[in-house]
Symmetry: C2
Subunit: 926 residues, 2 copies
Amino acid sequence: MGARTKKKTVPAGRRARRSDRASSAVPKKLVYGFGDGKAEGKASMRNTLGGKGANLAEMAGLGLPVPPGFTITTDVCTYYREHGQRYPSALDAQVTRALERMEKILDRRFGDPASPLLVSVRSGSRTSMPGMMDTVLNLGLNQSTVEGLIRQSGSARFGYDCYRRFIQMFGDVVLGLKAASGSDGDPFEEIIERKKRQRGVEHDTNLGSDDLREIADDFKALIRDRLGVEFPEDPREQLWAAISAVFGSWDNARALTYRKLNRIPDDWGTAVNVQAMVFGNLGDDCATGVAFTRSPATGDKGLYGEFLANAQGEDVVAGIRTPQQIAKTAAIAQAKASGIAAGKRAPSLEETMPKCFAELVRIAKQLEKHYRDMQDLEFTIERNRLWMLQTRAGKRTAAAAVKIAVDMVGERLISQDEAILRVEPAQLDQLLHPQIAPADRPKPIAKGLPASPGAVGGEVVFSADEAVNLTQAGHKVVLVRIETSPEDIHGMHVAQGVLTARGGMTSHAAVVARGMGKCCVAGCGDIDIDYAKQSFEVGDREIHKGDWITLDGSTGEVFEGTVRTTAPELGGDFGRFMKWADRARTLKVRANADTPHDAEVARKFGAEGIGLCRTEHMFFDGDRIDAVRQMILATDTAGREQALAKLLPMQRLDFVGILRAMAGLPVIIRLLDPPLHEFLPPEEELGALARRLGADEESLHTAYEALHEANPMLGHRGCRLGITYPEIYRMQVRAIAEATAELRREGVRVHPEIMIPLVGHVRELAILREQALQELAEIGRQSSIKLKIPIGTMIELPRAALTADQIATEADFFSFGTNDLTQTTLGLSRDDSGRFLRHYVSNGILPEDPFVSIDQGGVGQLVAIAAERGRRTRPDITLGICGEHGGDPASVAFCNDLGLDYVSCSPYRVPVARLAAAHAALGKKS
Amino acid sequence: MGARTKKKTVPAGRRARRSDRASSAVPKKLVYGFGDGKAEGKASMRNTLGGKGANLAEMAGLGLPVPPGFTITTDVCTYYREHGQRYPSALDAQVTRALERMEKILDRRFGDPASPLLVSVRSGSRTSMPGMMDTVLNLGLNQSTVEGLIRQSGSARFGYDCYRRFIQMFGDVVLGLKAASGSDGDPFEEIIERKKRQRGVEHDTNLGSDDLREIADDFKALIRDRLGVEFPEDPREQLWAAISAVFGSWDNARALTYRKLNRIPDDWGTAVNVQAMVFGNLGDDCATGVAFTRSPATGDKGLYGEFLANAQGEDVVAGIRTPQQIAKTAAIAQAKASGIAAGKRAPSLEETMPKCFAELVRIAKQLEKHYRDMQDLEFTIERNRLWMLQTRAGKRTAAAAVKIAVDMVGERLISQDEAILRVEPAQLDQLLHPQIAPADRPKPIAKGLPASPGAVGGEVVFSADEAVNLTQAGHKVVLVRIETSPEDIHGMHVAQGVLTARGGMTSHAAVVARGMGKCCVAGCGDIDIDYAKQSFEVGDREIHKGDWITLDGSTGEVFEGTVRTTAPELGGDFGRFMKWADRARTLKVRANADTPHDAEVARKFGAEGIGLCRTEHMFFDGDRIDAVRQMILATDTAGREQALAKLLPMQRLDFVGILRAMAGLPVIIRLLDPPLHEFLPPEEELGALARRLGADEESLHTAYEALHEANPMLGHRGCRLGITYPEIYRMQVRAIAEATAELRREGVRVHPEIMIPLVGHVRELAILREQALQELAEIGRQSSIKLKIPIGTMIELPRAALTADQIATEADFFSFGTNDLTQTTLGLSRDDSGRFLRHYVSNGILPEDPFVSIDQGGVGQLVAIAAERGRRTRPDITLGICGEHGGDPASVAFCNDLGLDYVSCSPYRVPVARLAAAHAALGKKS
């Protein structure tokens, strides 16, 4: 053991002694002690102490039984990273003093063979990074202190087991033995296996104290052999090495990846918590467990949790033994559910350790009241003494979140505004669709993307027509396609849910399904569809047409057969909660709805009007599509007008239905937008179409070819159609006007608005507005009903946003079509971006899929510019957004901050948007 | 003739008497007189007096012989339009006074049967609107004054001919008889025809004075019958009606359309010029003609022009008689060219009226000197007395424009700066390509769009491969295609010119041909191509493969056979002129060039570097394309790298050639940009490709399908390829680095720059820049040559422009890719916009094709934003634009005004851009 090996024992630069003199920028206080009813830190010091350290200090400060310890601040981590892994000079003395305080509180001494103090060394950053960084337990043990531990615990086996665990953990985490061994397996575990074979026993628990002592020795020899270093006997040396390892683990590969994915800045750093060990595994008067102050599944009040008797915390996590319920009622209920006889069930903590249980209940109540939120607790009972190891806000389901928030308002723990902020808007989605009952969830046969939430089952069909046929015959079906296209919409409409093998979260299937509020699992690469055989393979199964499957669109899971689901509950706590949210927000929430049914759903979900009614979706219904195709393939105005005359009464009927469903509320109807070829059948079906229309097949083919576009997204669509074929828009405006006149004559108060899409130049809007006004005036004259209908435009081209001041001269309202605006601003086709967008997001090139959450840095600038310029021209102009972003909480917050009047989203996202708007109004960034 | 008919004689509201009292906003002076060596107006009062009136005043003010008259200002027109066709109250008196002055000067009297004054009434607006508005001649004639005219002229026939012409013109223009007759033919002409039949004569000239008198009576009867009004006998009534008709003609349909197309504001209005009639048709001592002070075709000095003896101005325009040359030398030359014997030629004005000729020469010189520009003159000689009727700057060819500008500097008439402004940049294009000699121009067989200028001939071929084969065999070919695609580029490259049946000015053929400086006629719908028969039909002709045709890409004409062309001359006057332009401008001009040949051409045309070298164009050459396809269809990185290894030496060779050709100047090389599927063959050729590559056809098909994109323009291209397939860009950077090292080792001073396309987020650029720097550093190490190569990016997405401040942190330069920026900002696919963009431009919805001239209101805002934000981050950042707009004068001016450093355009547009930049620097708006 020369200088060389000595030096290697603790990696270079990891000692406090190698401190840097230029430490003036570092705060003076680097270490915060806690324990014995006192603490130097508190919960609000999360940035400095990390989440764990701050809450340990807070609990200690409250006088709760927390094992004493101290936290080394995140400032030290920053210093350490920026100064070549050296520490501020003041650190060493502060750690020493903090350690002395611990020794005093516990009357034990670090390295004292007679009464050794053992500690844990753990990371703790500002936000939770579960499992990403390193931990060392039982630190302070060596050849002589282990004897003290044996004396303290009265068990040689316990002492040596702790010792060998410590060596193993230290060897792996601090000295890097596992990493150095590569993929050769775990050499520590091999030693244990060898010993078991020697002894002819099966389980670790069958090994005796001598075996464990020998194993400890073998471990140390292994370290010497493999790493050429001696295992450090000096507890102080152990401690500094462990502290450095924890700081170093901030920059390990796992942590870096995690931070990148979760956008946690690298310079936040971690704190290090050094805390006295307490043992839940010293005998039957010991235990360890986790508890929630209310049910994280339902929100019901009462202590919910599990424990293991005579065990360490890691055993609970490892899941080798089945944990027992803490509360007696829960234990009884569980036994009943599992069919265990009353006398044979495992006892609850309430029964086995009533005093500790009572104390835990008291502490839980105290903590919940103190933090004013449901807490997730960790505790250990050492020889009938309860120690609190952690408290934090508990994660919860959406249902629990709503119930807890509402209950806590009732208990006067929190205000209504606070309650609103306690529920994540995105979570609400879970509540608005049927769910698979947790107890009934089977093993899935495949997993795709959770494209549109809900849980549904039905017979497998592989074509839209089949879906319609079977549905009409009274069956429930799930439409399974490689991918979907506008041709499939009628099938999607009738199906319970949609499953696709290809496509991302913003594929056609996903977008349309979300718009319909229909369950969808997209991009499920596990399934291999064979249309010819009318079946798909998944693993070694083959699912045929007519077989029943169940989809969970909230998780992306696919199940074989039927699975029990529970229906959503929109009243009760949920209804009360949403009322508070509505009171808090200023931003209005409308829905995108294309049919009377959608409009009714939207109203049920609290929509305050329709922000986008896409007239073209109606074109696919029934035999309309052929009239639409006749119009498209017409070679002259007369031919188009003939086809349009067929469509007029159908469109009028649509509008009557939608306007009636939204009586009293505004309904923005967008005139025809997509390129006409979207309405055509596949080329091979032109023959059949020609026969149905009585047209010449050859000329249909010519017209078909002429409609082909290289970039349809940027092609002949939107108001460009209105300009070149004025008769189309004229028919649509007439249908709106006639529907309005009809309803008003009936006394129904309807408020249609006409929206012109894809305007890039004010002159386009001026021409089409004038034309629409003429049409309205004519119907107004004919019907003797005054038709003052606002006319506005989509802002969905960068040019429109940039010239919004001019465009506003012709527009009563702007609706930001952020889907298309994203496509053009980023030059990104939603249909084609799948090939690289996932790579972009997962590699942090883009923070988020810009089709899911608005690209504030780019698209957001244009929205802001257009809002400002539009209002400059016309201060009373109504501004809103429609499209996918209208239901994304971050985007809703952005719209709120810009002062838009409303967001519009698919009916099922309306409650999400309402809550997000409330959050935004309350100043919370989503 | 009761009140009713009286009222109808002069249309309601067209009399000065019906004036408005509220005329305070109108200037006091509404009428400007001229004549007898004096004038109240002058040339600079164009806005008030119109072009014609201002120049008549100016000539009169110079003491030149101008028939006296007066101009009613444009203010009156404005008033008239805004006040329900009423006049300011002061007008009547001012017109009366002006008329009295004319009477005094000429000693004739309006309506005086003894010595009648006759006048013309003509429009004259700020800018010339040829033929758009109305004119009335010989006004003042009636039953009694015609007798005075007969006495004055000594010819009854002349008198009655004038009279019947006046009635006819007044009937059509003022009373609207022709318009009222609809498409039934011209009733006045019918009367003449009837009279000729009666008399059994063939020509109008065979009708005698009695015939003409009877015709005049019949005309008046016709007016009475058809319109129910009496032809006005009162000259004052005639005058006011004619004035109102001219003001009214400002708003006739023709004029409205013309103004819309030429973006002339409606509120400019027209002036009305009332001028004494002079007659060039009173006998052989009379003549009328037009003259230029220098040759408008060549710019040669000397009076050029034509006249007709004993004729009115309208006869020259009508082209019934062949006019004679004014100058003797010209008359001799013309006779010689037409093979007319010396004795038989028509005499010149110089010979027939030497005194008038000498005066005309003197006046021409005086006017040219006065206006300091070549003048276009109109004159009439009445009984040996010369009268000047008009002068204005003469239109001229590009060659003439350059020569006149250079000569006038030599003559100290104008400064070099003025000379620069005398040549329209767009005109220069004519000079840079071979032209069809004007004398040799045959009748075209078809006409398409003038897509890329020049005149070339060759044998017709219908495929790119054929073009290559025949060219290699020594033939000259013209490639004829329905439309072209990237697959045709090798054929376009070798062909003399390209003719397509489909596609617009910005179609693939047009854009690529302009880039190559290759003659192209696009969208020639007259031709009907049959690839199978290897021929095309046009009219009743059929042109086969191998037949010779000639294209004129400057006019869009197609000729059968060979036509003589003249080569461009870049030295001499042109060279001198361009040097002045270069001295005047501050904006640099670079070229877009993809091959060493292009680079050489660009240098010859004065390019100061390469602003855009598209690496992908090199990928189509020879057998490279198969290596490219192998790379694209590879299923893994290893496969791609194998193919890239083949491409590396070829790319290096390209770069060596280009950099060498541009030694001493910057060369911006853009890394791969287009979506990969652009490099693939048509699907039906995959089999052959598979055999050539030794690959599996099935998997090629799969890869092919996978590459399909819905909107390739917004798809997986540009830097997105670099991010997902880093090995591609790495190869290209390596090729650039190795080429640079090689040349620098030779001592050649080369300045490559690397450009990353389609960046939308700074992180994309940061990643690719870092990767490129690594590659450069490595080649630098290997070659021991320091490779400090600037790295920049295209700004071609709105998001890039909006976040230019961030992007500039990673970019040494920005190049505005305004083609793609236009596509994304306007949401307009260049490939697909043909269907509606022409409609947009011709209907004034967009002022110009935004792919031809930059959309300053939209795209321009983004360029300005990006320039400002880029410089804020990095004040020394180099800014330029590349793409089609770089050669458009208006866009060049825009770039100059924004303070960009350079524009880059196709080699053949470089002189245009140089001159446009000079114009911009001199403060002229193009």
